[in-house]
């Protein structure tokens, strides 16, 4: 067990790469989810079809198959990616497809009256989306997004199979050099668990913040809203 603990610089290096992959992958997934998710709520049938194709395709492929394809198959047609780029791309594309469904569902779950009110106030479509619809949709998106980030973090373990030195990769190295199979795997399982718990905590904080901004919990915003309502009503 002490052999494994002595290898902590390696474990930390691996954990840092896992965290990097999680952050980069989530950033890519978020951009794709917003772009394709909003495309799914568009009026034009063609734009909506774009959303369907992206979602069905990337939800349907296994991330590992996609990663192997980027890493082993594409170089043969002249496209060469670094392992890190192939990893982030396949993780982001895959989780982005799930995220796009979340975005589409959340935007559609905002009550119809909100659209009508925004139209009645003569807001432009861009203002309507940015100031009225999205802030409310974001509150609905956050909990499922939190789950997706953890899925992405867990999914990132497969990058060890294309020679990226993440936590799982380091575990195999430490296992080979120390022969301490049990404690090596216990150590990295615990590390993964800790990373997941931290991510969960961050998401919960973000949820609370968004709720407060929207005045969904008794806070300053809601009191102000009530004061405004009283003035207008009175």
């Amino acid at each position: 067990m002490t052999d494994v603990l002595d290898a902590y610089p390696q474990l930390l290096k691996g954990a840092w790469i896992t965290v990097q992959l999680t952050l980069l992958g989530s950033a890519l997934a978020l951009v794709l989810a917003l772009a394709f998710g909003l495309a799914g709520t568009a009026r034009s049938a063609w734009v909506r079809a774009l959303n369907r194709v992206y979602v069905e395709f990337f939800r349907g492929t296994a991330t590992l198959v996609l990663m192997y394809w980027f890493f082993y198959a594409l170089p043969l047609v002249g496209l060469r990616f670094t392992p890190m780029f192939a990893a982030v791309l396949s993780l982001g594309l895959n989780i982005g497809a799930y995220g796009a469904e979340v975005v589409r569902g959340s935007v559609r779950a905002v009550p119809r009256a909100q659209y009508e009110a925004a139209v009645a106030l003569n807001l432009t479509p861009a203002q309507r989306m940015r100031r009225v619809i999205l802030p409310q949709a974001v509150a609905l998106m956050l909990p499922p997004f939190g789950n997706l980030v953890i899925e992405l973090m867990k999914g990132s373990a497969i990058v060890s199979l294309i020679t990226i030195g993440d936590l799982t990769f380091r575990a195999k190295q430490i296992q080979n050099s120390t022969g301490e199979t049990l404690w090596t795997y216990v150590a990295i399982l615990v590390l993964y668990f800790v990373i997941a718990q931290v991510l969960q905590l961050l998401v919960r904080l973000a949820e609370r913040r968004v709720d407060r901004i929207l005045g969904r919990r008794p806070g300053r915003a809601r009191r102000r809203a009530r004061a405004v309502a009283a003035e207008v009503g009175g």
Partner: protein
Amino acid sequence: MDWDWTYTGDILPDLLDGLRLTVTATVLGYLIAVVLGLVWTLLRRTPSRVVNGAVRWITEFIRSTPLLVQLFFIYYVLPTWGITLGALTAGIIGLGLHYSTYTAEVYRGGIADVPRGQWEAAVALNLPRPRVWFDVILPQAVRRVLPTLGNYLIAMFKDSPLLLAINVTELLAAAYKAGSHSLRFLEPITLVGVLFVLVSVVSSILVRLLETRTHATD
């Protein structure tokens, strides 16, 4: 490099062999997940606080750590305790165990959705505990969550390529092997991707049909 159709035809039998293993692992793993998930859910409803808390942490731990590492654990650590498993068996157990924590959540939601009146009626009829569960609550709960359970079957199918890391020659591993013989990876891996998309899209359409049917009978 152009797509070579003769080569594609040559490697197809190998890939289909791999697909057979993939399907075996997915189906058997799913059986474990469906049964074990129910066990987790029922254990969480026992009055003992110790059992309840232990099960909660165990499932949370399994759910928030990567399947790949769990597979390594089962394949490399268990033999040091005297339990030696074949690669495929280890893979099936790993898949089943990992997804059982997801199906447990699904069952929990389904049971919570059964109206209170059903419980009260069962108590009023003085039904013994096992009959309440197996004849009243579970049939209603499981019917509600069938589509969600179906989605996890698809998710498991898509996680099955991870088994190549513990030397199971499933679909992707078969493709990789075929590719490394000839150093042509484009055809085999593309083919695997296409197979995966086909199977997942078709099965998600089936799940959607199931969903409309469950809603219709409600």
